[in-house]
């Protein structure tokens, strides 16, 4: 086995498990919390805005910080009724559970994807009462009694939704991880009336990232479904 490369770098040598004598600790400090980004602070980008505004929303719902909730009083499970793809589920959930984690970890509906968990990528797009939202930014308790549609509920039995079929034809994916969210958004963009031009589709689909870079095929798929008028 090769020797540790540190031997080449005497000035920063740090052998396993011991401090070089010449270099004493400068400070002993507690782990620092991440700086909080607030709306209005100069480095707030278009993508963080969603995360920040929802984080504030969540904070309003749970006035104490999550850590304190856990130490002082373990959260009671709460009952939530959720209709998912036409089927009603009576759930007992930790109130901190996001809609995304409810779908993936409690209902076994893993078609909705987790990528950023902060509203920046759209992989978790689902419909709540017909409107598209990022499921990672929603707490399930906020949607008690509401109706959720996921990618698993888009096809009619064996018959694919036209958007699903069109994604296959135009090869609108490679790895397939963003695909559920792209398809859910693609359907919505047409329904919302934002699929007029290529530029408009691109703009209104820009909340759905694709790292494989399948945007050309995705655009073609959305246009085909728009033109078919379904």
């Amino acid at each position: 086995m090769a020797k540790n490369v540190l031997s080449r770098l005497p000035e920063i040598q740090l052998p396993d498990g011991q401090l070089p004598e010449w270099e004493q600790p400068v400070v002993t400090e507690k782990s620092e919390p991440e700086p909080v980004v607030r709306p209005g602070s100069p480095d707030l980008s278009r993508r963080t805005f969603v995360a920040v505004s929802t984080a504030l929303g969540a904070a309003m719902l749970l006035p104490a910080a999550p850590a304190q909730v856990t130490t002082d009083a373990p959260p009671e499970l709460v009952s939530v009724a959720l209709k998912v793809n036409g089927k009603t589920h009576a759930l007992k959930l930790d109130p901190r559970t996001s809609l995304l984690d409810t779908l993936r970890e409690h209902l076994g509906l893993t078609g909705t994807k987790k990528t950023c968990n902060q509203g920046a990528c759209g992989a978790c797009t689902v419909y709540v009462d017909g409107v598209r939202i990022n499921a990672c930014l929603a707490l399930t308790v906020m949607h008690d009694g509401q109706s959720v549609t996921t990618i698993e509920g888009l096809a009619q039995g064996d018959a694919l939704h036209p958007m699903q079929a069109s994604f296959i034809v135009h090869d609108g994916f490679q790895c397939g991880y963003c695909t559920s969210g792209q398809i859910m958004s693609g359907v919505s963009v047409i329904k919302e009336g934002h699929a007029g031009s290529d530029a408009e589709i691109r703009e209104w689909m820009s909340g759905n990232l694709c790292r494989c870079g399948c945007y050309v095929g995705i655009l073609a798929a959305v246009k085909e479904v728009r033109d078919a008028g379904v």
Partner: protein, 735 residues
């Protein structure tokens, strides 16, 4: 029946992916699975002075809190030689082994709890105190300890031919510039995840991997158990781009935690944790010197690179390889150097090395073209080498010039007026730029098994993965042609370490490695079936000579007679299998085999706010045979979009004081979104290169990203007269 290879067959796994049924690593429904959340260091270098886990331990649902103080000491038996996808020099990072912090967001603890919410909440309760040391967190500081790589071979050693210093000094026209690419993160949309399940001393890992056989070996050695007691599955991978080529420490954490709590454990990294331990493209600074005579013939090329690495491993990439073979120049040197910093180890990211080095070389060439008042395409054609200038071997097929001619024609390059700022559209400045691309064609030993089922359908089995290029589909095409049946009747099963050995899906090598095995196994299968048929009185083919039969349309035919595979197999009581390994020839290569391409880009620049938009891209590639035009087009477009990200968006920002990555998320680490992507035309030359294998297909995953950033930066120069040599090209650099 026309061959399936070459047809734009839709993806085999398409339905599974558009319905959300394709299962990725974290999505297996495992009974009793519990959740692990790692705690990440907040310093970049030093030691853990104390770690308080009491509150976490007492939190509801918590099953274990592991730190370096109580984690089991895994045996980590030594590798005979390091995995080919791992770093060759150094000692890889082992989690929770000691109190030493080597990089920021290093794992310092892992919390296991019954639910995800409990694990997340409890992880926030772990209190870690550190004795920090000053870390080398800026490249400038790291440069003082820069050194030559210890790795030997083409990428580690300096190279020289002729006398480049002398030729450069004597050159009529010279370019001497420095170029930088920043640290970039792979950021596949699926974060790395592992579910570890122990059954006695058998370990099953559902893992995000580009090489299940590599993970199997790693895990077996880490836990000191025989290889065959580890099974790794990774049938769907949500993108990786290199980040899942080598086994990372979270796999050890998941399996270790599962051992401790005696339950299956799911460990899904957060996006933030993806900026800790799962690799990145290293920041690389380069100096390029070009010398040419007045008519544009290159006389000297010198290319030096300084690439970021960690302090515990030496990560060396092929940054300078392309420079040595791209153009005919008698005097040339390349010098690689490493810059150790307190970061985790970099890892191959799409087009590793070539994407970095070619940004510098192809931008410098544009600068030379400007200095010579020469068309950039003409300059490149003028310096076209007849044989590989480094190895002196003849090219098996070098279609660089053809890609430039085709690309230029499709793009309308002739309409470009060379003067800076001379093209406008309304109030916008228009720039047109081009650059070349290359990537080697590689092939590794790989095995496959092919099975004729009783129904007459065929199953292909291999441990290879499909991270998105379309291996499920292309292998079905290869098998369909080899056995002689419709591609719809071929099933492909991949990415289970129990299946025949396959090399990693990387370096654009998987198709060229796996397809010969699948093809030859399929042909042998057809031959065995023919032998069976002619020996079987119940077959219409009885008594014919097996070698006169043809395998076509789902059966065998000859002498005007025919029997379908389904009919033949109906008389059989077991499926028929052929297992085969295929390896490239052991003898020294007689030809130099590479892929080539070129990109033509149009940008607009708003003169008031200096916003750069890519308006259209035309790229042409010569990669040998294109097996599936539909999936190949997606791969090319995807690579080009990755290149747009490199050029305009991507940069990992590190606080130079503390070494902490400041944009460890997808909000502030920008990747191209829909609105950033213009119409893209990617065309492939109609060609075949049999030097690499019997299908004549070289591989196309890495090539398309190479050179894109240079083409864009050259276009920006054409529009504005500003030469941006440090990526990404952001507004302030155009002021």
């Amino acid at each position: 029946m026309s061959p399936a290879v070459g047809q734009p067959i839709p993806r085999k796994e398409g339905r599974a992916k558009v319905t959300g049924r394709a299962r990725f690593a974290a999505e297996y429904p495992i009974r009793g699975v519990v959740h692990a959340i790692p705690v990440l260091s907040t310093i970049s270098r030093g030691r853990i002075s104390s770690i308080d886990t009491a509150a976490a331990q007492a939190a509801p649902g918590v099953l274990a809190v592991l730190t370096h103080l109580n984690a089991p000491k895994l045996p980590y038996r030594p590798f005979e030689r390091p995995l080919e996808t791992s770093t060759r020099v150094g000692v890889f990072f082992k989690p929770l082994r000691d109190d030493v912090i080597r990089f920021n967001r290093q794992y310092v603890a892992v919390v296991v709890a019954t639910t995800l919410e409990q694990a997340e909440a409890a992880a926030a309760l772990v209190r870690v105190s550190y004795a920090p040391l000053r870390a080398i967190s800026s490249f400038e500081e790291g440069l003082s300890a820069a050194h030559q790589p210890r790795e030997k071979g083409s990428r580690g050693l300096p190279y020289q031919r002729g006398d480049p210093e002398l030729a450069f000094a004597a050159a009529a026209v010279r370019v001497d510039q420095r170029y930088t690419i920043p640290t970039e993160h792979h950021n596949p949309l699926e974060t790395h995840a592992t579910i570890a399940v122990w059954n006695g001393n058998q370990l099953t890992l559902y893992d995000k991997s580009q090489w299940v056989k590599g993970v199997q070996q790693h895990a077996a050695l880490a836990f000191g158990i025989p290889y065959d007691q580890v099974r790794v599955l990774s049938p769907f991978v949500g993108g990786a781009f290199g980040s899942a080529l080598r086994p990372w420490a979270h796999i050890d954490l998941a399996a270790m935690a599962a051992q401790v709590v005696k339950r299956p454990v799911k460990l899904s990294l957060t996006r933030e944790a993806m900026y800790g331990t799962t690799g990145f493209r290293p920041e690389t600074r380069m100096r390029v010197r070009l010398g040419a005579n007045a008519s544009g013939t290159l006389t000297a090329v010198m290319h030096e690179a300084w690439g970021q690495t960690s302090t515990y491993e030496e990560y060396t990439e092929n940054t300078l390889d392309a420079t040595r073979l791209m153009y005919a120049v008698p005097n040339l040197s390349t010098v690689p150097r490493l810059v150790p910093m307190h970061v985790s180890t970099p890892q191959y990211m799409r087009g590793p090395g070539e994407a970095t080095g070619m940004f510098a070389l192809e931008t410098a060439l544009d600068e030379l073209a400007v200095a010579l008042r020469m068309d950039p395409v003409a300059l490149r054609i003028k310096n076209e080498p007849l044989a590989d200038p480094e190895s002196k071997l003849p090219w098996s097929l070098r279609s660089y010039v053809q890609t430039m001619q085709l690309g230029a024609e499709r793009f309308g390059w002739a309409r470009r007026t060379p003067a800076v700022g001379s093209m406008k559209d309304g109030g916008l400045l228009i720039g047109m730029g081009m650059a070349g691309a290359t990537y080697p064609a590689l092939r590794f030993p790989t095995s496959a098994r092919i099975r004729m089922n009783l129904s007459g359908s065929v199953t292909v089995l291999s441990a290879a993965t499909d991270i998105g290029p379309g291996t499920y589909t292309s292998m079905a095409q290869v098998a369909a042609d080899a056995v002689g049946l419709d591609v719809a009747l071929v099933n492909v099963e991949l990415a289970d370490s129990k299946l025949p050995y396959a090399h990693a899906q990387g370096a654009s090598a998987l198709f060229a490695s796996l397809s010969p095995a699948v093809r030859e196994a399929g042909r042998q299968l057809a031959r065995q079936l023919a032998a069976r048929a002619v020996a079987d009185q119940r077959s219409p083919l009885y008594g014919l000579k097996a070698e006169t039969l043809t395998a076509v349309n789902g059966g065998l035919s000859g002498a005007g007679k025919r029997e379908s595979y389904a009919a033949l197999m109906a008389r059989s009581d077991a499926p028929l299998e052929v297992h085969l390994t295929s390896a490239p020839p052991m003898s020294a290569p007689k030809q130099s085999t590479h892929c080539f391409g070129s990109h033509f880009v149009e940008v607009s620049v708003d003169p008031d706010v200096l916003e750069v938009r890519v308006r259209r891209v035309v790229s042409a590639f010569g990669v040998g045979r294109v097996v599936n035009p539909r999936t190949a087009h997606s791969q090319a477009v995807g690579g080009i979009i990755g290149g747009i990200g490199m050029a305009l968006h991507e940069q990992t920002h590190t606080d130079p004081r503390y070494g902490r990555i400041m944009n460890a998320n997808l909000s502030e680490y920008l990747i191209p979104v829909h609105a950033d992507v213009p119409p893209i035309e990617a065309v492939y030359l109609d060609e075949v290169d049999y030097a690499i294998g019997p299908l004549g297909a070289k591989g196309l995953g890495e090539l398309p990203i190479v050179g894109v950033a240079a083409a864009i930066s050259n276009a920006v120069y054409h529009a504005t007269g500003k030469r941006v040599r440090d990526l990404p090209i952001t507004i302030e650099k155009l002021l």
